[in-house]
Symmetry: C2
Subunit: 340 residues, 2 copies
Amino acid sequence: MSKKIGSGTYVMSSPVKITCFDAVVGQKEHDGPLGKYFNNWSDDEYFGQDSFEKAETYIQKEAINRVIEKSGFSAKDIDFVFAGDLLNQCAGSNFCVRDIAVQFFGLYGACSTMAEAMILASMVIDGGFAERSIALTSSHFCSAERQFRFPLEYGAQRPPAAQWTVTGAGCVLLERETDKPSVSIEKVTPGAVVDMSVSDLANMGAAMAPAAALTLKRYFDDTVTSPADYDLIVTGDLGLVGSDLLRELLLRDNISLGSNYNDCGVMIYDTAVQDVHSGGSGCGCSASVLCGYILPEMLKKTYRNVLFVTTGALMSPTSSLQGESIPGIAHLVNLKVQAE
Amino acid sequence: MSKKIGSGTYVMSSPVKITCFDAVVGQKEHDGPLGKYFNNWSDDEYFGQDSFEKAETYIQKEAINRVIEKSGFSAKDIDFVFAGDLLNQCAGSNFCVRDIAVQFFGLYGACSTMAEAMILASMVIDGGFAERSIALTSSHFCSAERQFRFPLEYGAQRPPAAQWTVTGAGCVLLERETDKPSVSIEKVTPGAVVDMSVSDLANMGAAMAPAAALTLKRYFDDTVTSPADYDLIVTGDLGLVGSDLLRELLLRDNISLGSNYNDCGVMIYDTAVQDVHSGGSGCGCSASVLCGYILPEMLKKTYRNVLFVTTGALMSPTSSLQGESIPGIAHLVNLKVQAE
């Protein structure tokens, strides 16, 4: 009866289908290389709200409402929402779902939340507990800066390895049975926490890369596949520094990531001209790249077999002030489109 | 194939078993009416660590290590850990699990986290994804006070409806198959977020009671049972004020909670003499009462059929400063012991 293969990869008894998805982003994300893929954006960082935190709730609501509307279902047809974000007490998600009377599981996985939500949503569907579930997450540059770093008004300088929190939300609807065009989730590898004693808050890519390496190595070993078997292997938000480190770490295990490897934090901005240093980060980074770019391109068959690996840095400002290092985690979802 | 009954209660295809559990608490909890049931406690609020936050991680570690040791398994036999706490970025749990290389799902459900974790752990076991999983949570009076309210040194006065955050951690091991003495999880009702516009941070019982009422009513309707069918119906931490309100709200739906109803926040302290005003709160409140008192008493057959309903107040200090009300949630787990 177990759906586990190898040391920790799980195979659905029948593929769970992603049938609807949407992303909402800010101006800077729309100005980036993926801008033409983002149909919903605003040049107002407040998105018409009166605080950055309310703006973050607003973009989550926009994303989930658009997905529900596109799906042809109503909220009462959704069994569960799995959501989380970076705000203290996951306030973005909690205030988003209070207007939608759906049974709710709040998650905290830092920037790994999107794949964490998709893994749990898939498992409860495949386990017979739900017909359809939603995975949802967000981040907002301004709410993250003042919570994790400095008030924007300080104009603090950013070191080269620092990343730029993406203003964006992404939402996917997962279903058991469907005739609609869809992307399938067949295999997932939930992450374990890895702490290699990196403590530089301005280099979270380095803190998360070992977790990404562990999850990817576990997945390749469990499935007896190699990077060359996939059209696209994309990490959540390791940025330029963390991505290089991931390649290096995997090479030690004789796993070579080729040109099919990329990172959502590198893809979403033009790092050379948008002054984002090492690239994008935040739960909304991988979520908006997934929902704005990867899933639509999979439906067009640009990519047929994708590894989507979101990475989270699990420290808190308090733990760092108390001298702790940064634990990392990486959750992996294998996405596929059927051959014709 | 669906395991859903009624509007949102889920029935396991075969009962998931709780085989091991443990609680770790502080001095004040040991001084309370349940003191004799708590075998692991310390009169040092730092538990030998150098900060309150590290103390919270320490009690989680103590709880999980004791459970794993008692179980006869080692960490590598555990498929998943589901854990969360009240610290910003759930730092208590993240730092706890970094030393245990188990695949991890971080949760945020405020004081509802224990039942949330047990529901998800049960679903992934019953869905065929795990043989055994752990649900774990904690809270600490001192870390919660300074994060959510005032530094202890201020000596702030507490209004009568305020609750006292429990210093405690609780951990349960859930398994698919076992011959060991165990408590079964047969039915669960995950909560939806309810916000009735209560905004008084010193009266969170009132903010959470409507969510508890919704989940209990849904459960009784879905299962066609009534409060009299259970030996014990216990809410997470509504305290004295919230418990009275819950009785009143359910009466409006002609559901009468009798003397078999109690609240973990009321049970854990002697509210008349321990200066805790409305009673206990915090993720560790319901978790330690469950693992220290309820589960051991169920194995002794003092209680055979229990509704364990944890309640969470999903605001953040920032959302409250911005004028928001307090969204609430309540997750329900039906616990049973087999007849002889």
